[in-house]
Amino acid sequence: MSNLFEHSGAIGKGYSQPEPLLPAHSIGLPENLTRKKAARWPRLSEPEMVRHYTWLSKRNFGIDTGFYPLGSCTMKHNPRINEVIAQLPGIADIHPHQPEHHVQGLLSIFHEMQEMLEICAGMDQVTLQPVAGAQGEFTAVRCIQEYFKSRGETQRTKVLVPDSAHGTNPASAAMAGFEIVEIPSREDGRIDLDAIAAAVDEQTAIMMITNPNTLGLFEPEIAQAAEIVHQAGGQMYYDGANFNAILGITSPGLMGFDAVHYNLHKTFSQPHGGGGPGSGPIGVKEHLAEYLPGPIVKKRPIMAGEEVYAIDDLWYGWYQPANSIGKVQQWHGNAGAVVRSWAYYRRFGNGLRTMSQHAVLNSNYLRHAIFREAKKAGVDDMFCDGAPTTVAKHEFTLSLLPAKEKYGITAMDVAKGLLDKGYMAPTVYFPLVVPECMMIEPTETESKEVLDTFANHFVEVLQVDAETLHAAPISTPVRRVDEVYAARNLCLRHPFEEDEQ
């Protein structure tokens, strides 16, 4: 149970580096610029460092460890070839300020990704610059803001967001300076056209929606919703968090959206890395393209003298949109994530539809298997669909409200019980519109056997008595963590003994 700072070794231990080019005393910094007290970092030899982080890794759960049905997060397998490619010097050892002729190969990959994302979403222009979904949202909202400014429609200050939306939607819009109008969902979890019609007016700037929605249900009236918003002069924004369900089947463009963000760390297998990095490109329709952050990659036929650097007789160059909002990241976005996602895309190509079909197949199969096993075990009275539906998309929600009312078993109890069975727990208590919500997304990379076994284990957990479940988990590295204690007794860094005295 030791942390890094309890390892500290003897002074001078733990590093090996070449000598400096000049002796240290040649630095000659004045006193007020010179560091007086060294950082109290540990002094680890390599074997100690490797053991420490190996030990920590064994106390962490990833997709590689086991089934990770975390709804809304699309925890699919991360192919390892992506990691190999991202370490090639042609990406890892590239500086974003290198001239175009140094990076034709990389720019061709950027261009291929822009084009592929445009095709999949039915958009006209993609920028790869935003580095996360939330940053993509913010970027698109900013572009739309500038679009309205250019049309003199500065009175459009309101952004409509369904009550089931991801928290980033209202947060991103508010950060850009918009006022948020929350639209209540219908009883069945779908958007309410009447509520949208009642909310839109000449102040409406944007409606932000994800489809399939956060309950994993397709919004069949999405085109009508888009029409209502467009009629009022507003723009439609598509939150791409749930894009994994619909590639090659439908597209935000077909549904009537004007702008969209993609989560390459969900749909295109960039590993989540315990919380990031991600990549959140955005795509827009033609009328918004001039506001995108640059640079964006364009291609043209080569000119004389360029043959030596060119890829397939094409020249890839950076291009600045005419009325760009400027930058949201200092460089060209998370290029490493784009390259990993490119490798993933290449694996499927036009078979991306098959990928989405399997994501939806697995989700529906798991939903079916859970109900099937629950019925067999006689515990199907403990939960119900988060919203009524015949088919789900890539994820589905269950409400554990009956279990809570009948037996005092909460969604959190079931989640902790699943940890004891060796799974990552599904997302709980989101979306907020479903009481005692459990949101389950298996992804396409799980086998039928895994899904069947999980369904069995899920039902086994429901059969455990409330008291035992309240005490779960018992087999994890630590048991239920006291989050209230953490907030009341803030300890945000290692307390060194000498500071305590």
């Binding site: 590093y15 070449p18 240290a24 680890l44 997709i63 010097p89 974003p96 913010f138 200092q330 086998s447």
Partner: protein
């Protein structure tokens, strides 16, 4: 137990075979559908109305096998000029470094690589503890008590620090919704700041500089009463500015001093927290991360206590479990978007945890003496380069009297662009053309050296600069 994976029908030759390594249920669709009482996979999409259906196949290339993908990656990425293939003096915010092999070995462990945000702390103790340790490593390095788990990059960290300063100080500020930023800050970073600030109606004013590249302390007095001041140490042209430690005194307690740092420099240079900085931000890349064409990187964010409850980003706290055992969890989440929604302190959700973890691992391997040594290597390389280039009569070093870290300005007798083209033809990535930052400086070249720069590379650059500049003077 494993079902048969025999492919029963092949809609397009080769396609199924290739994708089967990622889709375990390929070929088992009928079996699964039948159990659900469905006949065809399209039945799962019956809720999607025909008028929004895509017609036909995606107009994209066919699937590839792993072997074909790596071959294409090698062909495309292999055609790039990697900095390691050349002699390079390009930095300007991102710095070539050496990352110990153990960092890559540990970071690619699937338990770290393939985990999501640690929402279930009982099975995420590894990453939570590693990030709590990261917070401590940064806190020690920067001289401030609080650090978060990373923001996207140095630019978003600086932009978020400005909006945080306004949240904290605006009520008492005499210059409401105003922040000051050093005029030398790169336009790309200022652009990011403007995007983050405009929503809150925050005005960014420029802090003037002296001819020697240091902050004009007299004009810094104007910033007193505003919400915050952002400067960089070293500044964007590599100068270590002795005036920066005096700034807090000048702007006073009600204006946040925000200092952007190159973290490696803090092995020799005073930590901003020790001279009154309220927030320290920076590009974490030189500790633990390759440049990777500009991302993923990690933004450093640290602050003092008054900013804690209004700061952006995730933070880990040490707690206990029900048995009283030490345990870690995310804390102060009520600032964040998933709870506070449009009233959150930031919209950030996904951050750069894995890259921050690379940073933590690198820091853990360096130790305090290792960091000092690394900083000395960077700094002495810079001193040597300045010495060698100052011997060339036809070029000038306008800030030669200053102390530099990593980089310095060379004033050429001709356009920096032409010089860079010449150097490129000779296999040298010669530096950064400062004309793209400062429109009135067509002849300024920013030359960067790091711990990776060798003495003979500096000699080579000096020889070529002498040759080019003597020709330029003659012309």
């Amino acid at each position: 137990m494993t079902g048969t994976r025999t492919v029963k029908h092949t809609p397009r030759r080769g396609v199924v075979i290739i994708m089967v390594d990622q889709l375990p249920n390929l070929g088992r669709e009928q079996e699964m559908l039948a159990e659900m009482g469905l006949a065809h996979i399209d039945d799962l999409f019956s809720d999607i109305p025909p008028h929004v259906r895509m017609q036909g196949d995606l107009p994209l290339r066919g699937p590839q096998s792993e072997e074909e993908i790596i071959a294409d990656a090698n062909r495309l990425l292999g055609s790039n000029v990697a900095l390691g293939d050349r002699v390079s003096f390009l930095g300007a915010g991102l710095y070539r470094n050496y990352i110990p092999a153990a960092v890559f070995a540990m970071i690619t462990r699937g338990e770290f690589l393939t985990a999501y945000t640690p929402y279930q702390p009982e099975v995420s103790q590894g990453m939570l503890q590693a990030m709590w340790e990261f917070q401590t490593l940064l806190s020690e390095l920067l001289g401030l008590p609080i650090a978060n788990l990373s923001l996207y990059d140095g630019s978003s960290a600086s932009a978020e620090a400005l909006t945080c300063a306004v949240r904290v100080h605006n009520r008492k500020a005499t210059q409401k919704n105003v922040v000051y930023v050093s005029q030398l800050i790169t336009p790309d970073k200022i652009s990011v700041m403007q995007n983050y600030c405009q929503g809150g109606g925050i005005e960014i004013r420029m802090l003037k500089h002296n001819g020697d590249g240091t902050i004009n302390l007299e004009s810094a007095k104007e910033a007193a009463g505003s919400c915050g001041v952002y400067v960089e140490q070293p500044n964007p042209i590599g100068i270590l500015d002795g005036g920066i430690p005096l700034l807090k005194e000048i702007i006073g307690p009600n204006t946040a001093l925000i200092v952007g740092v190159q973290p490696v420099s803090l092995g020799v240079v005073e930590a901003p927290g020790n001279y009154g900085a309220d927030m320290v931000v920076g590009e974490g890349q030189p500790l633990g991360s390759p440049i990777t064409a500009g991302g993923p990187l990690y933004g450093i964010f640290a602050c003092s206590k008054p900013y804690l409850r209004l700061m952006p980003g995730r933070i880990v706290g040490r707690s206990i479990d029900v048995d009283g055992k030490v345990a870690y969890c995310l804390t102060l989440s009520t600032r964040e978007q998933h709870i506070r929604r449009h009233r959150a302190t930031s919209n950030i959700c996904t951050n750069e945890t894995l890259i921050a973890l690379m940073g933590a691992m690198h820091m853990a391997l360096l130790g305090p003496e290792g960091l000092n040594h690394l900083a000395v290597r960077n700094m002495t390389a810079c001193i040597l380069a300045k010495q060698k280039l100052s011997e060339i009569q036809t070029i000038a070093l306008p800030h030669i009297g200053s102390h530099h870290f990593n980089e310095f300005v060379v004033e050429l007798p001709g356009k920096a662009k032409d010089c860079l083209d010449y150097l490129d033809e000779n296999g040298i990535v010669g530096g950064f053309n400062l004309n793209s930052w400062y429109s009135n400086r067509t002849n300024w070249l920013l030359v960067t050296v790091t711990d990776q720069t060798k003495a003979e590379e500096i000699e080579l650059l000096a020889a070529h600069l002498a040759l080019w500049s003597s020709k330029a003077v003659a012309a």
